[in-house]
Amino acid sequence: MIFFRHLAVRLGNSILLLLAVIVLNFILIHSAPGDPAEVIAGEMGGATIEIIEEIRSRYGLDRPLWTQVVIYVRQIAGGDLGYSYYFNQPVSSLILRRIPPTLLLMIFSLASAAIIGVVLGVISSYAPHSVPSHLITFFSLAGYAAPVFWTGLMLMLLFGRFCPIFPVSGMFDIVAGHHGFAYVWDVLRHLALPSLTLILLNAAQFSRLSRASMLESLSTDYVRTARAKGLNERRVFLVHALRNALMPVVTMAGLQFGPLLGGAVVVETVFNWPGLGRLVFDSILRRDYPVLLGILFISAMMVILANIVTDALYRLIDPRVRGGPK
């Protein structure tokens, strides 16, 4: 009962938080000088004042800001994210179309970065003062320190121009129109360079963390006990030490999801990957308020939901938290 009451309170708070996010985003975005009517008129190569006024009126931009906020909140409450000024499409269909490519890029990159990072971290921890270990540390830090757009462009140059084995833009070959396995293969080939860019950025963190975690794990009592029992070194290393060292890595994988979305904006733009990140970039450039607000709303909702779920899971799993405040 306490659990459900707490959940209800959290849900109520979350709705208020979501409302605050919507209003704040709306006001901040609309406070910048200039508006979408100028972008639309600008791309027309000029327009009369009547046309600019008509655009403002069509999209309700001529109304007072607070009226616009109220209309928008009401609209969101009714499940309508609005209509894109620029793409002439409902925002919900634009966003829905862009979510799968972004998820594919992010999940693939995150999983690959975690696996590669852990492997490198483990190799590095096996002989922490050896040349391979120093080399891994050097390349990890270089990958992490390089700006994402620069890494992306260098990979494009390398694999697009000098050694053209991967496509450098898009998600699939529009002209060939592949189906079935050929389509999957085509997408994987297009995925190579954008995901490699994100992997280079993120594998460094996993490698450093897993190295430190492994070193710590290798110095614990249970590892010493395992060795004392006469287990072979490989089993001690991979089963006893690594399994325990992976816990912080898994936690970090979850935390990396947010920053990875930020990185995806740049990577998707550089590689013309048709995901949410590129939509954010296009919408910022064109002041497409409804799309920007829609994406911010969806992201805020996802974060809030994730927090509620985590909170609820803690309560279910850990009896110490279940009782609530005394």
Binding site: G34, E38, G42, L153, P164, I165, V270
Partner: protein, 531 residues
Amino acid sequence: MRTLRWPQLILVAALVSGLLAVRPGLGWAAEHTKGTLVLGTDSVPRHFNGAVQSGSATALASTQIFASPLRFDANWNPQPYLAESWKFSEDGLTLTLKLVKDAVFHDGKPVTSDDVAFTIKTIKENHPFQTMLAAVDSVETPDPLTAVIHLSKPHPAILLAMCPGLMPIIPKHIYNTGGNIKEHPANVKPIGSGPFKLVEYVPGEYYTLEKFDRFFIPDRPKLDRIVVRIIGDVNSMVLSLENNELDAIPQTDDIPAVQRLEKNPQLLVTNKGFEGIGAINWLAFNTKKAPLDDVRVRRAIAWAVDRDYIVGTLMLGKVEPSYAPISPGSPLATEDVEQYKVDLDKANALLDEAGHPKNDKGERFSLQIDFEPDSEFLQHNVAEYLRSQLKKIGINLTVRSSADFPAWANRISNYDFDLTMDTVYNWGDPVIGVGRTYISTNIRPGVMWSNTQQYVNPKVDELLNAAAVEMDQVKRKALYLEFQKLVVDEVPIYFINVVPYFGIWRQGLENIPQSIWGPLSPLDEVHWTGE
């Protein structure tokens, strides 16, 4: 041991992928698909109805989807298209179009004079270029293949206004449904009578055009399909072209990329085909703000700027200089104006005369310069150069950035600026794209590319109004010559260069568009060698 399985699998997959990718025939860098042309652009079309939306993003598609009464060759001569003939009356107040017999829309309905009349009415009421058809009073349709256009005054630019980019003939039976035509659903699912029909549009990503089998010109179009990919990042677009993922970038002003691609033997780089657009890069003055309200100060700045250095060094010698309001590609252009060859002594003398002596630090006054935020090469570089150059005559110039286009446009169109770099299109004829930035009746706050300099000269107004109704080309040219001399002399704008647009096409493509409207005209004759 489970932890090691995935890394091993990924390693194997990566190796196999690499091996397959480099195998000849399976690699990415394959030959083009037969009959298909893949274009790259960084512009997103809001929709495809060029009758109510100007700009090259829409025109690139709408000129393929819709046919227009006329088209133009590389020498500014009108050519038959939907109209097989056209004739002005003696007094120049009536223009009669005779339409071809066999033209049909993509839905099979015939193209008639009713569609022409409906289109002209729609453009007059909705198109951003209001001067383009302002002189049209009415359109009579005595029979399905004859349209008689009545004008309130002679209109020498009307034939140019009938080109594919400016007058796509839209079907009355589709669009005449009432309501706001700018929001008509057919704008994103267009039905035209042009050489290609739209078969797919994924907003912001790509659109596909397919050959229209019943196009009214026999044996055209020659291509089966055109795919236009929208690639926001120019570097990515250029690498896609080098990597054979694109066949052409029909319009770009990225000079460093052009310079690199020119060396690629598989590509053909041309600057032909942009005369109609007539884009000029210039330095504009706020003529109502002191000290720039004094013509001597504006002239001093003009004498201080070294145009040759900007054109030859800053822009890597890849651009053409511009000296006057009408773009050099136009038959009405002139170079017979004061060209302001750099002369710092003259500039200093003019500032002294205007009452702005140098102080102890050698400074006279401070000014601010703006530039379009996405124009690093053409504008920001020049603004930075001007900062150091104007210091030589005692003007302390600061360069102000804007976060994005709306922020910059908001400042300029509301006169919150001293000087600004700007790029403005002529759009073929001075009536459409030139007069708007000089005529005093077009000083309209909040409107970009109106007379944002707030320049007022009754003689200029008189000349522009007279030239706009002069049907005799020789007399018209004389009127525009006088106008250009006056404007250059009073320097509301200092003209720097023609915007260096280039088309980059893969070798093996025949008949690439080189008329005055270049890629903003039908690509019905383009084809691959041997196809």
